[in-house]
């Protein structure tokens, strides 16, 4: 019995020790979101995947914060046109050398001036291969990029020869060859200035960034929230109409929806499948569906068995076999809009195509496929990632194709996006894959060049066509932006004949917001324009 007594004590002691370590650790998570300061807007977001660096952020959650903290040279208006932000003017005579003049009196949030040097030095740092920034390829047009970012080995120089500071407010950008639409690219979030303080501690900067944008960084409690405060002295046209933003971290859209419904959250810019059917009933006119410049398509892999040396007529037939209208209305709950071309309407250069290839016509579809010589094996696959909610529409599209044409169609599910991407990069797609493209800048060129040019980086279908390439090249060497856009419009008409992809539908942002905010608008990239939100 005595043995049992000592046992009791030691077991108890062990239990207490376990509990004690449990309690000791409990200060680590930073606890509460501690409520929201008056005049702030709280919105759904997630944990940024990268440190908060303009040149290292290429996903939505971090993108929101970067856009709030930094303002670049130019921005885009609602119709895809360019507006000057930090730039007073961006001029060129030959599309090769661009002269940038900055607006006077702009400062970083730490009080230092935004000068030409702040841009040039930052861009040189961002482009440098040693700094391993995911967006460094954006600087690839600039002369001397190969010196700081060689394909292999260490950089030869620290500076790109194409960037030159003229005076405090002026610098020039020389490109290695003319790019008529370079100014459009300048609106991308990586083309921002960095303050001098950045270079002392780049790593710390990613946790506590100092920008020049409409908001100033306040705090980042990992996995909880990021808070930014409106800057009173901000000089840009997109000055905040609210006092600040709380980006709250949610792991699920559904739980954010519940919080918005109960008034604990002001804005959610996405609605989970569970809540899509009832969003209008729950939120009334505070449930918005706003189309933006993003498209989804089915891309044939031109090396795969069903599509090797295929007659484009067959792909046109497949396209006509898809009942886009019904699928977007039923399966997709009105969250997408049937495509009318290879580019969405929100970008400059969008044109109405006179075609029936993108409308449902089962009879013609069957005829086209027969005329084109059919599909080897009479079977196609659509590869998609199972973690992105694509299964439902892939099944619907497949059913539509099979019903209309008799071609067997099967979804080829990959467990997640990484695996899906790996199969694409390794040329292992069995038939077609799900393609998605969101605009980097609102120009029709962005929806064609990277996707369908021979050997282009994201041309995973390995489409290659001489005529199309010629038209692209012509556009890239045009004298002016407008001429370039026109050449690409001609290319789009050609694409319709060659069918490097089957456009399905364009995206719409599904937004629900609370009663106490107003002025919710969406930009071309589907992100809510947070500076325009007003608090009642």
């Amino acid at each position: 019995m005595r043995g049992a007594k000592t046992m009791q004590w030691s077991a108890l002691a062990a239990a207490v020790a376990l509990a004690a370590t449990a309690c000791g650790g409990s200060d680590g998570d930073g606890g509460s979101a501690a409520g929201k300061p008056a005049g702030y807007v709280s919105m759904f977001n997630g944990e940024p995947q990268h440190p908060l660096m303009p040149s290292n952020t290429n996903e939505k959650f971090g993108g929101y914060v970067i856009d709030a903290l930094f303002t670049g040279l130019v921005g885009y208006d609602a119709k895809g046109g360019l507006t000057n932000m930090n730039a007073e003017s961006v001029d060129t005579k030959d599309n090769k050398t661009w002269t940038v003049k900055l607006k006077k009196g702009w400062t970083f949030h730490d009080g230092t001036d935004v000068t030409a040097e702040s841009y040039v030095k930052a861009w040189n740092w961002m482009a440098n291969v040693k700094n391993k920034q995911a967006n460094s390829y954006w600087f690839g047009d600039i002369k001397g990029y190969e010196d700081v970012h060689p394909e292999k080995g260490d950089p030869k120089k620290d500076e790109m020869s194409g960037l030159k500071v003229v005076d405090d407010q002026t610098f020039t950008i020389e490109l290695s060859e003319p790019v008529p639409y370079f100014e459009y690219k300048l609106g991308y979030k990586t083309f921002t200035p960095l303050p001098e303080s950045f270079y002392k501690d780049p790593k710390g900067f990613g946790q506590k960034p100092v920008g020049n944008g409409p908001y100033e960084f306040q705090k980042w409690t990992h996995n909880k929230l990021i808070q930014v405060k409106a800057v009173d002295s901000y000089k840009g046209s997109n000055k905040a109409k609210n006092k600040g933003i709380q980006f709250k971290n949610y792991s699920k859209l559904e739980s954010a929806y519940q919080d918005a419904l109960s008034g604990n959250l002001d804005l959610v810019d996405g609605v989970g499948p569970k809540d899509l059917p009832k969003r209008k009933a729950d939120f009334g006119d505070r449930a918005l569906d706003v189309p933006y410049a993003g498209t989804q398509s089915i891309v044939p892999a031109f090396y795969s068995k069903p599509f090797k040396d295929v007659d484009p007529k067959v792909i046109q037939g497949l396209s006509m076999a898809i009942d886009r209208k019904t699928i977007t209305k039923t399966v997709l709950q009105g969250t997408r809009i049937p495509s009318k071309g290879f580019t969405p309407p929100q970008v400059k250069g969008y044109q109405k195509l006179d075609t029936d290839v993108l409308s449902y016509n089962p009879k013609k579809a069957k005829q086209y496929i027969e005329d084109g010589g059919g599909i080897p094996g009479n079977k196609i696959w659509i590869q998609y990632n199972a973690d992105g909610g694509h299964k439902e529409w892939v099944t619907a599209v497949c059913n539509s194709i099979t019903k209309a044409t008799g071609v067997k169609c099967v979804g080829d599910s990959k467990p997640d996006f990484q695996t899906d991407l790996e199969a694409r990069q390794a040329d292992k797609v069995k038939g077609t894959y799900r393609g998605g493209w969101l605009a980097d800048y609102p120009l029709n060129i962005n929806f064609m060049q990277d996707l369908y040019k021979t050997g282009a980086s994201t041309n995973y279908g390995r489409f290659s066509d001489k005529k199309v390439d010629e038209l692209f090249t012509k556009g890239d060497h045009a004298d002016s932006l407008d001429a370039s856009v026109e050449d690409y419009q001609a290319a789009e008409k050609e694409l319709l004949k060659k069918m490097p992809a089957i456009p399905l539908w364009d995206y719409a942002a599904n937004i629900v917001h609370g009663e106490n905010i107003d002025g919710v608008k969406v930009g071309f990239d589907g992100n809510v324009l947070i500076t325009d939100i007003t608090v009642k």
């Binding site: 043995g3 049992a4 000592t6 046992m7 030691s10 077991a11 062990a14 376990l18 509990a19 449990a22 650790g25 409990s26 200060d27 680590g28 998570d29 930073g30 606890g31 509460s32 979101a33 944990e47 995947q49 990268h50 440190p51 290429n58 996903e59 040693k130 391993k132 920034q133 995911a134 460094s136 390829y137 970012h149 060689p150 394909e151 292999k152 080995g153 790593k203 990992h222 996995n223 949610y250 792991s251 699920k252 559904e254 739980s255 954010a256 519940q258 919080d259 419904l261 109960s262 604990n264 973690d387 997640d416 990484q418 695996t419 991407l421 990069q425 998605g436 990277d450 980086s457 994201t458």
Partner: protein
């Protein structure tokens, strides 16, 4: 007894190494390159990918990577996340306290309510109360946790307006109540069933009859003799359950937006953050090992016939 504990602790070492090696190789074998995924749908940059891999030691053979990981671990270095560039230790430090609070809450709830319900229904086996508890527990076992989660959210947040639908402050015990109860529901049902069966059976045992015949008060018979012996299967179950409560809360954590271990490991798995997955899994393994040691020690407390020498 001291020697027994020491032996058990020593036995943990091979289990620990084996399980980490297993998880490490599994992460290694998974398709999908986490570094290439940094670039999203855009063109990956081979030079940078190589540089990042070299920096993180991901270009080494598997055995070497594992060796580096293990030696780092013994120096308290859990590695660095690929995308966020944050130390994994920091990520774990943030997720664990939340989970431990949630688990403790759920665990206490399971034990207190489960044992109580089980004991009462065991003592009154086949009476009306027992029948009601049977139906109740069967219901809990058959309802998936996400249904229960959304149901609770609807009832308590929207109909009764007692709480916010999600947890706003993970340090507030009151707010953690809802997810903890949802999390505990399944274990609660099992504990109730186990206790009930065990109590009902032991009630007919010889030593209980003897105790009653000796004229001991009923309180002592039930509280000490009956309960103590009936708890052995329950303790066994609880010991393994604590690990499941900690790591298996992905669904519940998602519904109530609690950023605990379950969610962290799930997200890390999706992003192929190997070091994070292995780090958390290692800690869960340790929790399992310690819990099972405690269970074995508790046997001796509960049943004087069991001794460790």
């Amino acid at each position: 007894m001291g020697r027994y504990v020491a032996r058990r602790l020593l036995q943990m070492i091979p289990v620990f190494i084996g399980s980490t090696l297993l998880i490490f190789s599994m992460m290694y074998a998974l398709p999908g390159d986490p570094v290439a995924a940094l670039y999203g749908e855009k063109k990956p940059d081979p030079a940078q990918i190589a540089a990042i891999k070299h920096q993180l030691g991901m270009d080494l053979p598997l055995w070497h990577q594992y060796w580096n990981y293990l030696t780092g671990l013994f120096q308290g270095d859990f590695g660095t996340q690929i995308a966020t560039q944050r130390p994994v230790a920091e990520v774990i430090e943030q997720a664990f306290p939340v989970t431990i609070r949630l688990t403790l809450f759920a665990f206490v709830f399971t034990v207190v309510v489960g044992v109580l319900l089980g004991m009462v229904s065991g003592l009154f086996a086949d009476k009306a109360f027992d029948r009601i508890v049977l139906i109740f527990t069967l219901l809990l076992i058959s309802i998936p946790s996400f249904v229960l989660g959304y149901l609770f959210q609807y009832l308590f947040a929207f109909q009764l307006d007692w709480l916010t639908p999600t947890v706003q402050d993970s340090r507030d015990i009151g707010q953690l109540m809802l997810p903890a109860i949802v999390l505990a529901a399944l274990s609660l049902a099992y504990v109730t069933r186990l206790t009930r069966t065990s109590v009902a059976e032991n009630l007919r045992a010889d030593y209980i009859r003897t105790a009653i015949a000796k004229g001991l008060p009923r309180r002592r018979v039930v509280g000490v003799h009956l309960l103590r012996n009936s708890l052995i299967p329950v303790v066994t179950f609880l010991g393994t359950d604590i690990g499941a409560l900690m790591a298996g809360a992905v669904v519940t954590e998602g519904i109530f937006n609690v950023h605990g271990v379950g969610n962290t490991i799930f997200e890390a798995l999706n992003r192929r953050e190997g070091s994070t997955v292995v780090g958390i899994a290692t800690l869960i393994v340790i929790v399992y090992l310690v819990a099972s040691l405690l269970v074995d020690l508790l046997y001796a407390v509960l049943d004087p016939r069991i001794r460790y020498d």
